[in-house]
């Protein structure tokens, strides 16, 4: 990599990533069967609902929604749907402002809870005046196993902003129906609707019968001659806001309750036992149903499935509870909003149905099969011990005992496998350099950020003192820098820079004359979410022109100390960091660490190289290796690099017991291991090998002569 030409950031593209199959399925018409993942079903459903515009900010598990549409430009052009790839969730939420004044449908998406936090200001200002065209927000509820963000519930936002929240049962027909109904609900109640999908629901596979896509009545293809008439009621500004608040509770919420009942959004599963009941969030239904099945009581307990968790319909809940001794509320996460609300509404109606919930199920944490089974066993023991679940209980206990047995055999927790930097990642050398810097100047306060680079907080780098949100690392050092003898280092990705860091971090630091160091990882994409384009990448999807350059932006903002450095050069990076830390110059010091995301780069160059090889062109393949006879197995190189391709293998030397380092065939030849060995003065084990494919006659001649001479000289 060091000696291979690198694309300037403005020309980085990622053409290999393709959703061809998915794009085709978006075109399915009436009666055809759609097959695919949950989040893609939502994408199809919004086109079936006749949206005029779509937007969003990427993040697992909902990135696909926008990614697929980006590649469906032809289809969007035909329908007249506008697609906005937003630079953060706030701009996505503001996009829905179009539906305040114009009767057109729109859908935006982001990852929650973090995205909803960012969007909150626009969301409140959207919810207050309300909408006349259906507005849907699809949030990826990143909760439980595999989640990458703080564990909080989106429900809180729905409650405080009076936005309706759907939590559909994870089956594709239900998800699709809820998506379509969400627009109707939004229009019937002048209220934006959120739909939350958990990770497993976004990725669940299934099928549904598709309908034709609808071209919207107002769209890019059918433009309006005039703007909406001025109507102060639609502006979230006093005194309108006082009126909005009353309308929310007096008009919109009752309308929503009626709509939910009339359209049967919540589902009722009948059961034999009239004295018992279960109320469950739609998204948790599958776990619950399988749990009841496990206890061999399927079909026994009537169940109310809340595909809409806000608002609750008091009459519907009361009717369900009527005549029941005990009802279990299955509600994942804290606080227990639903359970509290149900308690209150029963109390107000003087109903004495005993409510179970967080007393038999845990307050916090994902409701897995084991957790729900355990909760159901407790519920039946306390509320209905006439139902015999002793057999299943014994099996459940036996399974737990078996697990304990297995854990005894394994003798302790298994080594964790945290995510880390990819092979050849351009961000790794920056952290290697910081490690080396710390050898010289001692520990430094490092303010970390969201993005791939947050993996530096894990082994083997263990670098980073805090993470305060996306693009917040510089701002988070604001009050640390003034109390530190050494300067602080904030690390931020280019994704984070455009999302928030530019204003919250750089502008604020400049404004306050902050004396800090900022390292911006410029890899050209939001890589952690699947390599989406950002303003400094080549071309947003349409015209192929770069919109903004980070260094130019920083200069325009008045940053004086600015270096742009190829990341793979550890020694230069170390030198610049040293200079930034010790420079007499006050103010913000920014290092733009430039190196293209290796995943994206490999996707781009692999087919090119394959084509060159096929055409018989001379191609040099570079990779690195370790001489296992020279390596002594101290693994310093791994602690300073952590490359997944740099592994250990048993020492071939029968005299040594410690495993030696080894570069496996995942190596992409970035050269960092050699660079680190060089910069840290580690050891002479590393070699670089260049394999000449489709060699010319001159290559072959040189090689033959050299081989002869070397063969004669060798030990």
């Amino acid at each position: 990599m060091l000696d291979q030409p690198q694309l300037p950031v403005a020309q980085r593209t990622n053409p290999e990533r393709s959703f061809k199959e998915e794009v085709r399925s978006l075109r399915l018409g009436d009666g055809e069967v759609f097959r695919g993942e949950g989040i893609l079903a939502v994408t199809k459903a919004i086109l079936q609902s006749g949206v005029s515009y779509v937007g969003g900010y990427q993040g697992a598990p909902v990135s696909h929604l926008v990614d697929v549409l980006v590649e469906s430009q032809d289809l969007l052009d035909e329908l007249g749907v506008h697609l906005e790839t937003c630079t953060n969730e706030s701009s996505a939420a503001a996009l829905l402002g179009a539906s305040i004044n114009y009767p057109m449908r729109g859908c935006v998406t982001w990852k929650s809870i973090v995205g909803t936090n960012v969007a909150a200001d626009a969301l409140s200002n959207l919810a207050s005046p309300g909408v006349i065209g259906g507005a849907l927000i699809v949030v990826g509820e990143d909760y439980g196993e595999g989640a990458s963000v703080i564990q909080e519930r989106t429900q809180a936002y729905a409650l405080k902003s009076s936005v309706w929240l759907m939590d559909p049962r994870p089956s594709l027909p239900t998800i699709v129906r809820c998506t379509e109904k969400a627009f109707e609900l939004s229009e019937a109640t002048n209220t934006p609707v959120m739909m939350e999908l958990r990770i497993r629901a976004c990725h669940v596979t299934g099928e549904f019968v598709a309908k034709d896509n609808q071209a919207p009545a107002i769209s890019r293809n059918r433009r309006l001659p005039n703007p909406a008439a001025h109507n102060y009621d639609r502006i979230s500004h006093p005194p309108s806001t006082y009126v909005h608040e009353k309308v929310k509770v007096e008009v919109r919420q009752p309308a929503a309750e009626r709509f939910i009942v009339e359209h049967g959004l919540n589902e009722f599963f009948p059961g034999e036992r009239a004295d018992l009941g279960i109320i469950v969030q739609g998204g948790i239904t599958n776990v619950l149903v399988r749990g009841l099945d496990r206890l061999e009581v399927e079909g026994k307990v009537p169940t109310l499935v809340l595909n809409v968790t806000h608002p609750l319909v008091p009459d519907q809940i009361a009717d369900f509870c009527k005549g029941k001794r005990a009802v279990l509320v299955v509600e994942e996460g804290a606080p227990d909003y639903l359970e509290q609300a149900i308690h209150v509404l029963l109390r107000k109606r003087d109903m004495d149905t005993r409510i179970y919930g967080k007393d038999v199920l845990p307050m916090a944490g994902e409701y897995t099969a084991e957790v729900v089974t355990d909760g159901l066993l407790k519920f039946f023991a306390r509320a209905a011990n006439d139902i015999d679940v002793s057999g299943p209980r014994e099996r459940f206990e036996a399974a737990r005992a078996g697990r304990a047995e297995a854990q005894k055999i394994l003798g302790g927790p298994l080594p964790l496998r945290p995510p880390g930097f990819c092979v050849g990642c351009p961000e790794r050398p920056v952290f290697s350099a910081i490690k080396l810097l710390e050898r010289e100047v001692g520990k430094v306060h490092i303010s970390s950020d969201i993005g791939c680079h947050s993996f530096a907080t894990l082994a083997p780098f263990n670098l980073g003192n805090s993470i305060l949100g996306f693009g917040m690392s510089l701002a988070a050092a604001g009050a640390v820098a003034p109390i530190m003898q050494k300067r602080t280092i904030s690390v931020m990705g280019d994704g984070g820079f455009w999302h928030n860091g530019l204003l919250s971090g750089v502008a604020s630091s400049m404004f306050n004359r902050g004396d800090r160091v900022l390292v911006i990882m410029q890899n050209g994409y939001t890589s952690a979410t699947g390599a989406q384009f950002i303003p400094n990448t080549s071309g947003n999807r349409r015209d192929g022109e770069t919109t903004s350059d980070i260094a130019a932006t920083l200069k325009a903002m008045g940053v004086k100390w600015l270096r742009t450095i190829r990341t793979y050069n550890v020694a230069t990076m170390l030198g610049s960091l040293r200079e930034a830390m010790s420079s007499k110059e006050p103010g913000l010091k920014v290092i733009v660490a430039d190196g293209e995301c290796q995943l994206a780069r490999q996707r781009r160059i692999r087919p090119q190289i394959a084509a060159q090889l096929k055409a018989g062109m001379r191609v040099v393949r570079t990779r690195f290796g370790v001489d296992d006879e020279v390596c002594t197995g101290d693994h310093s190189c791994i602690r300073l690099s952590g490359c997944p391709s740099l592994v250990v293998k048993p020492s071939p030397d029968p005299l040594r017991s410690d495993p030696v380092a080894h570069v496996n065939n995942g190596c992409v030849g970035c050269g960092l291991c050699g660079e680190v060995a060089d910069a840290a003065v580690l050891c002479p084990s590393f070699y670089k090998a260049e394999i000449v494919q489709n060699a010319t006659w001159w290559d072959r001649l040189k090689w033959r002569v050299r081989s002869k001479v070397i063969g004669a000289l060798a030990c």
Partner: protein, 479 residues
């Protein structure tokens, strides 16, 4: 009708998602109801990923609700692309002896924690295998990575083949193959990998021919020394002692190998194997000459070619990364000159030597040819003195307690690496020697306690690179 439940544990980059897609497509092909979901992790290529599928055993009206979460004791088939991930599914209680067929690769991909350890930090494979055997109903285990390599394909296709070969799903081979063809990517290699995996699972592939030729190292010219070793040392130590002889003849000369045997004379038979191992490593310390020898050996270019998978007709250019400094140069000088140089300001310079060019190779070969000079070098003199002291301590200790002697021998493990790593290791070794071993041999500490103390200090020295643990341990011992 209950679904067949399948749990897949994989590593990012193993192609677990594609494996999932193949199974779904094959089930669809048979008209079977199927549902899958995943916890794929982020876009990066490390970290564990899990996939969960439910497949209906027969065609027909499918169950209304399929689960999205695996449950303890309710997994029929567990697939793992790596042994620790199999262990993880067992650890979490999903794999059970009543129900689960476990199909897993036996190779290990060490996690970062295991790799970054100073010594051998890998999880005990014996425990994993025991858990696999005892905690699952049936097992199909083999090195799928190796199989993938042999077939030229990827591990996920091998695993799919093994799943097909297990016969646990009501899906014929042809449906899986069709799924691979439908996928459309690397079809031929994936089909080959699938066939290999299926062959393994059904016991149709001969699993015998591997790793036998390498162990026949030539013992030419040192037969007499080897004979001497055989008459003088316990049989259980001879593999090491003979390797030591071969090593040191190649490293220096016959005389040096003879010195090795002389030094081992009189070492307690209970610890002679350990001492012989460390002694050979210490005597073949890494100086520039040794590195040059290794880099210019005849087999080395062939090994590099094999490792980087160069085809027979492809030229390979190799660039070596060196960064010698004053210490490396001083190591080669006579002691008086070395002391002069080391008293000067330290320096380092980067050298990238292209060892596949005539000039580059000749320079390395010249350095390798300097071994006649080695006994006159400062490093040699220093190392021999250090080795002498170490052996004296061992001999003195074995009169008191063999355990203490063994622990002293083991401290040699601390001395390894190059540059700072070497200095740090040597520094730790010397501290242990002065602060624990010397007082113990002088009778100021009971031998049993001293043996424990040396062992604790050694482990502490390897625990972290900064030496914090060693400081704490030494302070605790002194207290």
């Amino acid at each position: 009708m209950k679904p067949i439940t399948i749990l897949i544990g994989a590593l990012g980059g193993d192609g677990g998602g594609v494996l999932c897609d193949w199974i779904i497509a094959a089930a669809h092909g048979q008209g079977l109801g199927v549902q899958a979901t995943q916890i794929p992790g982020v876009a990066q290529r490390t970290g564990a990923t899990t996939y969960y599928l439910e497949v209906m055993p027969e065609r027909g009206p499918r169950e209304a609700v399929l689960a999205l979460n695996p449950a303890m004791g309710e997994v029929d088939i567990a697939l793992a692309t790596e042994l620790l991930e199999a262990g993880r599914m067992i650890f979490n209680g999903f794999v059970t002896p009543e129900r689960t067929t476990l199909i897993a690769s036996t190779h290990r991909v060490l996690s970062i924690g295991e790799r970054a350890a100073m010594g051998d930090g890998s999880f005990d494979v014996g425990r994993l295998l025991r858990a696999v055997k005892e905690r699952s109903k049936a097992q199909i285990l083999f090195d799928m990575e190796q199989t993938a390599e042999e077939s030229g394909g990827v591990i996920n296709a091998v695993l799919l083949g093994a799943l097909a070969g297990s016969g646990k799903l009501p899906i014929p081979d042809a449906a899986f193959e069709a799924a691979i063809r439908e996928g459309g990517k690397a079809v031929d290699t994936n089909l080959a990998a699938f066939a290999f995996g299926r062959g393994h699972a059904r016991g149709e592939l001969e699993q015998a021919v591997r790793e036998h030729r390498k162990r026949q190292a030539a013992a030419q010219g040192v037969e007499d020394l080897i004979a001497r070793a055989r008459s003088g040392f316990p049989a259980g130590s001879l593999d090491i002692v003979e390797e030591g002889i071969r090593r040191l003849v190649a490293y220096q000369d016959r005389g040096y190998a003879t010195l090795y045997l002389d030094r081992l004379q009189g070492i307690d038979p209970a610890i002679v194997r350990d001492v012989a191992r460390h002694l050979a490593v210490r005597m073949s310390f890494e100086d520039i000459i040794r590195v040059a020898q290794a880099k210019t050996s005849r087999e080395r270019l062939e090994r590099v070619r094999a490792e980087v998978r160069a085809k027979p007709h492809e030229p390979v250019e190799v660039t070596e990364h060196f960064k010698p400094g004053n210490e490396e140069i001083a190591a080669l000088l006579p002691p008086w000159a070395a002391r002069w140089l080391l008293a000067r300001r330290p320096f380092h310079f980067s050298m990238h030597v292209r060892s596949t060019t005539v000039w580059g190779f000749a320079r390395l070969r010249f350095l390798a040819g300097l071994r006649w000079w080695r006994p006159r070098s400062w490093r040699y003199v220093e190392e021999q003195a250090e080795i002498g002291r170490w052996l004296e301590q061992i001999r003195a200790a074995q009169a008191l307690s063999v355990e203490l002697a063994r622990e002293i021998a083991e401290t040699a493990r601390l001395i390894k690496g190059y540059g700072d790593t070497y200095k740090r290791g040597l520094g730790n070794y010397r501290r242990i020697s002065e602060e624990i071993i010397a007082p113990a041999l002088a009778g100021r500490m009971p031998p049993r306690k001293a043996a424990d103390a040396v062992a604790n200090a050694r482990v502490a020295a390897l625990a972290d690179p900064d030496g914090d643990s060693l400081n704490r341990t030494l302070a605790a011992i002194a207290a």
